[in-house]
């Protein structure tokens, strides 16, 4: 199964509050009026130019020992993640990106030299990608017609080496929305996220990467992730 789409911001439903949270405001705390006006203006500007995109593909697969095995590719998933994904009979791999157009827009903002504008541009980009993660999860729910799946796990997260990106990209083949990885296994455009979701009756979507992370006071703890 493969689904991929470029979506509009209205479809994505990115809200001002999403952006505020990504800027470090606690849920429900409203920034001062100058900042709210700035965020609204920049978001409107961005919406005209940027179209975030996702691609999601599923494969049959299994967890052997603690490694996720898909189509002969053996991921070096850490024990904890392997255990959480135990029981999966299929896996969905995904790539999400705010796209080249976002980078160009953000570069333009940054070149103008205002530090607050640059920060807001960054926060909007991150919020876009995170919201896109949620969107993909909803898409997956629709496709699976209620079948159970895990939450998502990303190479680079929780002792899962970032070098494992290369395996994920190998499996995705040319189907990467133009997102590439460099020799440090980092994705370009920067505002991109990749990951894996296990599909299987016994899996628990409530066990998230956040719940594994020891940083209990993180400002994004239990934010609604992918």
């Amino acid at each position: 199964m493969r689904v991929s789409d470029v979506i509009s911001f209205s479809e994505l439903g990115l809200t001002l509050s999403d952006v505020y949270e990504s800027m470090g405001y606690r849920k429900g705390v409203e920034p001062d009026s100058q900042t709210t006006a700035l965020v609204a203006r920049m978001l409107a500007d961005l919406e005209r130019e940027v179209k975030p995109a996702y691609v999601l593909k599923t494969w049959p697969g299994k967890v052997e020992d603690h490694s996720v095995v898909i189509d002969g590719v053996v991921f070096d998933t850490p024990k904890t993640i392997g255990k959480i994904l135990q029981g999966a009979h299929h896996f969905a791999l995904f790539i999400i990106t705010a796209g080249q157009a976002y980078d160009q827009w953000a570069d333009r903002v940054k070149q103008q030299g205002d530090i607050l504008d640059a920060f807001v541009a960054d926060a909007i980009g991150s919020a876009t990608v995170e919201k896109m993660g949620l969107y993909v999860k909803i898409k997956l729910d629709q496709l699976l017609k209620g079948a159970n799946h895990s939450s998502s796990f990303c190479p680079g997260q929780y002792h899962w080496p970032i070098s494992e990106q290369s395996k994920l990209f190998t499996l995705m083949g040319d189907d990467t929305l133009g997102v590439t990885i460099n020799e440090s296994y980092l994705m370009h455009p920067i505002k991109s996220v990749s990951g894996i979701i296990g599909i299987g009756e016994t899996l628990n979507p409530k066990i998230t990467a956040c719940s594994l992370c020891p940083r209990v006071d993180c400002f994004r703890r239990n934010a609604e992730h992918v």
Binding site: M23, D32, Q34, I115, F119, D122, S126, L186, I190
Partner: protein
């Protein structure tokens, strides 16, 4: 007579135009730049920093204050006497090789710049060679490294080792930060300092250059 408390308020509340206006008035009246900076501007930055630390102010407030501070400093800088006081110090900053999380690093850079440091922002995925080259070229007082991936934060140690090998470790202070980094880790790898946020980073940088 200009009321310099208005400058303090302007910087605290992040009002660039007001800060510039009051600074210009003060300069016209012949008030010593150093007195304006130390007596009012730095105090305002300290207060906004405190509010940030207490959760009463947020990143945009810090940035607006830094922007106002920079506006005033740009006026005062040419008037400062002696080369030492022209800049607080020179900083080379980057996200280490293997990582590209740069929002926090950019914040640190903006705050340092706002508070009078000269900042060379190298960007992301920066190798030890690049850090060393930039430190040499710019005669940096401080190298700032940022990492958000636990898998790549160890690279900070590689950079410190490389500075040692290049024979310039004693010439430059090393500050590190990023969400997974801790004080203990900084000590362990032989960095000169760590701060958990952009506000603390400025105080730390001041401390390191005056040490």
């Amino acid at each position: 007579m200009t009321d310099l408390n208005l400058l303090y308020d302007a910087i605290l509340n992040g009002k660039l135009e007001q800060a510039v206006e009051v600074t210009n008035q003060a300069v016209a009246e012949g008030i010593e730049p150093q007195e304006i900076i130390n007596g009012y501007m730095i105090k305002a930055m300290e207060e906004i920093g405190l509010r940030f630390q207490n959760g009463e102010a947020f990143v945009p407030n810090l940035l607006m204050s830094a922007r106002a501070m920079k506006g005033s400093l740009d006026i005062l800088r040419p008037l400062l006497k002696g080369s030492n006081s022209v800049s607080m110090g020179k900083v080379v900053i980057g996200t280490v090789k293997g990582d590209l999380h740069d929002i926090g690093k950019n914040l640190v850079a903006s705050m340092l710049e706002g508070c009078g440091f000269e900042v060379v922002n190298l960007g992301v995925d920066i190798s030890s060679d690049k850090f060393i080259q930039a430190a040499k070229e710019n005669k940096a007082d401080i190298i700032c490294m940022s990492a958000l991936l636990t898998t790549t934060m160890n690279y900070m140690k590689d950079v410190i080792d490389a500075l040692e090998a290049a024979g310039i470790r004693k010439d430059v202070k090393v500050m590190i930060g990023g969400a997974p980094v801790t004080e203990a880790f900084a000590k362990q790898i032989g960095a000169d300092g760590y701060s958990e946020n952009a506000n603390g980073a400025v105080a730390l940088a001041r401390q390191l250059v005056s040490a």
